[in-house]
Amino acid sequence: MTTSTEGDGTDMFANLPPIGDTELQALRDRLAARAEATDLLDVAYRTIDTPVGTLLLAATPRGLVRIAYDREGLDTVLSGLAAKLSPRILSSPRRLDTAARQIEEYFAGRRHQFDLPLDFSLSTGFRRLVLDALPDIGYGHTASYGAIAAAVGNPKAVRAVGTACATNPLPLVVPCHRVVRSNGVIGPYLGGTEAKKLLLNLEAAA
């Protein structure tokens, strides 16, 4: 205490013990629960570990709104959701329990179809049209970009279908991984070509 000058109290608080992670986490969990109960939780998110790496799952009260691969960057994705949907975003696993369970079942080969409320707020126009058509490609099957373009009534829009797949806010659940090039080449994927290969192999094995 001899080093401090009269009126400077910084040292009085220098040796306070740190706030424990557990007690702060308990408060944060309670905050998320109360936010949910008072309709203030516009976007809830959690991460899950899967064979294709860590996935971010985000949901609005209306449904699952975003699935993101690790390579997209968790912070970047959350900032995007803050800008496009609402900054009222909290980590809160509960709203995503069902989605997490179904994705786990999918990777275990036990689930061939997802049964989840989806929120398509992040997709509009032609892209939305394409996403709506994708679930028609059944589990274990593939379709070409051209075939999807034709299916949505715009056979020349092959490139636009590619863009719609590349910007799919709900990969995996909206199966853009089942869209491949007409020459059989797997093609690019927002989770990486390796991830796309893994998903197609998983589905082919079942």
């Binding site: 109290g9 013990p17 905050l31 959350l78 800008a83």
Partner: protein, 162 residues
Amino acid sequence: MSTKQPFEQIVTEHGATVLRVCRAVLSSVDADDAWSETFLSALRAYPELPADANVQAWLVTIAHRKAIDITRATARAAVPVADIPDRPSGWSTDHRDLDLAQSLAGLPDKQRHAVVYHYLAGLPYQDVAAVIGGSADAARRAAADGIATLRKTHASGEARKG
């Protein structure tokens, strides 16, 4: 386009500091409530907060109001008890500087708030004054007086512990 951080990030950055502030101005149980109320209010108002706002000062302002609300509610609900506990209830002994907490509790409100918001929350006196009212100079004087008292009471506590 205004780029506002996800609220989760705000909790990560400021959660611990706001908890320290709440604990320094309230008892432990009340402090947890104040923390929850503060962040819930902040979450509600967050979309309207200007992008260039000082988030820390904003949160301390909310915490200050919540602490006053809780103190008033506690005072209204207070009933006489036969045995006065030695320590303010709720101050657990495991992870807290008890002497400092008790010394802080003994300060007049204005001094305690000025000390906590400046030294614990790190707000400049201009911001402290905005939270507690009055001028920056008055906030500075209140904090200095508070620290002087703390130094006396806290030091004597340390000495007793020997």
